[in-house]
Amino acid sequence: MQRVGQMHPVAQDFEPEFYKDLHTDLMFLNMGPSHPASHGTLRSFVALDGETIMAAVLEIGYLHRGFEKTVEHRTYDQVIPYTDRLNYVSSIMNNVGFSKAVEALIGVEVPPRCQYLRVIISEMMRIVDHLVCIGANLVDIGALTNFWYLFNKREIFYDILDKLTGARLTNSFTRIGGLARDAYDGFEDDIKSVLKEFEIAVLDVSKLCKRNKIFLNRTVDVGIISAEDAISYGFTGPCLRGSGVPYDVRKESPYYFYDTFDFEIPVGENGDTYDRIMVRFEEIKQSIRIVRQALKTLPGGPVNSDDKRVSLPPKSESYLNIEGLINHFKHIYEGVKVEPGEYYDCTEAANGELGFFIVSDGTGTPYRVRCRPPCFTIFSAYPDMIEGSLIADAVATLGSINIIAGELER
């Protein structure tokens, strides 16, 4: 203190010795629930020492809508619009996940054309989800330009979705046993052209980021989670792969011809924000590969299963004969009848393993639907990931684990 005491008062401020005997206390700060960097209504309550987060706790539930309770009072087909609102950035993937689980529970197989179309649109949705995640994450760390590059291209795909499903965000495109409608004429060419646009976007943004010193400083070694912790926290999807665990439902238990497509599972090394972003970049490229292969071999034929248990009769029958009319009426009013039983089925959604555990009681409404959201388990690790880092790093970390509140809180 002697030495510091002799210094000019302004210079004293820079000496840690000067603060040694100063009594400092932790400061408590609410980050969220409503904050542009919190990606939805997430509240983290942090204890700060200067700008360093020493401890953090979370409060969620601001967007809890009672999905699981509501769907116990709806028919199976009526549940599909609710699944749109789970991960609303890639809604068709949730539609596919739920429909696939119900179809597996009933034991119907959808026609190959339907499976291919589901793969194509799911992979497109995965690309869009990753574009949104990367774009928003880069905005959080101050790289606004990239956002425009990525979101402009996303807009082109949303026009295609508009044409295909009639809606931009909440598409409700699948039905139990098929799809709402077949692809329109020229769908394949539209997809091919938007894939080129996506490639340009990815190339542009990778060029801007990959060796950008500011980007590297903000992401490398930020928000690290080890493979061991990630597994213990139940991580799946890009966040788990970012930590170096090559788990992907599409490879482990392939559904919908995924075993016939040639694609790779990118993995990271450190499990930091940089790895998670780069895994997403690489997954976009792999998804583009899958879509191209699927378009090449897209079979013709019907998109809806001809199984009477799940599909509506053709309009010619429901208008012209009484059996068809009754069949249509019972199907709409009472729902698809499902034998009593229980089934867990999962698909690889954009954030990880999206599972549905369905208990049926023989009627047209599910007895119990448990949605296993990938975000929920990932977000519970967030305090561990941000403790000891700066507030700004917490924001970068939150962007990279891609928390979608609709799915987190259902």
Binding site: F45, E59, G61, K69, Y233, S253, D345
Partner: protein, 178 residues
């Protein structure tokens, strides 16, 4: 292969395993609730099972189910082995008189939040849980919404804010800051 694992499990735990079968989606094991923790620990650590990923914890309320079940509630644990690629579903039935099971949060970190959700939605008590608090609904909320006797149209007015200081205190002590 899977059948051998199930046999191994019932040999080891004897009467604690009530039934086991290979269902269409994955093998299902029904056990009694007292030995849940031990069985899950064994399934995590044993080299043949090696269930390192706890996919999900959930519960089912069988109050209005047309087929009679052993008890009103069932806990459902979904386990997954990333190395072997197999999955298991472990179920344990609970009656309304004794709605409690051991918390498995010492085994998997993700169990902490998943158990909080089950507590929130069904009111099942998890013994030795570090922070058994509502997670999706509000702290003032009364009742457990996913129970079959909770009417779907019931509304509640909830006003107070959660300061979160109770959780923060625990966290600070855990981190050695207090």
């Amino acid at each position: 292969m899977t059948q051998a694992l199930l046999t191994q499990l019932s040999d080891r735990f004897g009467d604690a395993i009530l039934e086991s079968e290979i269902a269409r989606d994955m093998p299902v094991i029904v056990c009694n609730k007292e030995s849940l923790f031990e069985i899950l620990k064994f399934m995590r650590d044993d080299a043949a099972f090696d269930c390192n990923l706890l996919t999900d914890i959930t519960a089912v309320d069988y109050l209005k189910y047309p087929i009679k079940q052993k008890q009103r509630f069932a806990m459902v644990y979904l386990l997954h082995s990333l190395d072997h690629g197999h999955r298991f579903r472990l179920k344990a039935y609970l009656g309304i008189a004794d709605l409690s099971v051991d918390s498995i949060s010492p085994l998997w970190k993700t169990a902490n939040w998943l158990e909080r959700e089950v507590y929130d939605m069904y009111g099942i008590d998890f013994k030795q849980h570090p922070n058994l608090k509502r997670i999706l609904t509000h702290i003032e909320f009364e009742g457990h919404p996913l129970r079959k006797d909770y009417p779907i149209e019931r509304r509640q007015v909830l006003t107070i804010n959660d300061s979160l200081m109770d959780e923060m205190e625990k966290r600070l002590i855990e981190k050695g800051l207090k």
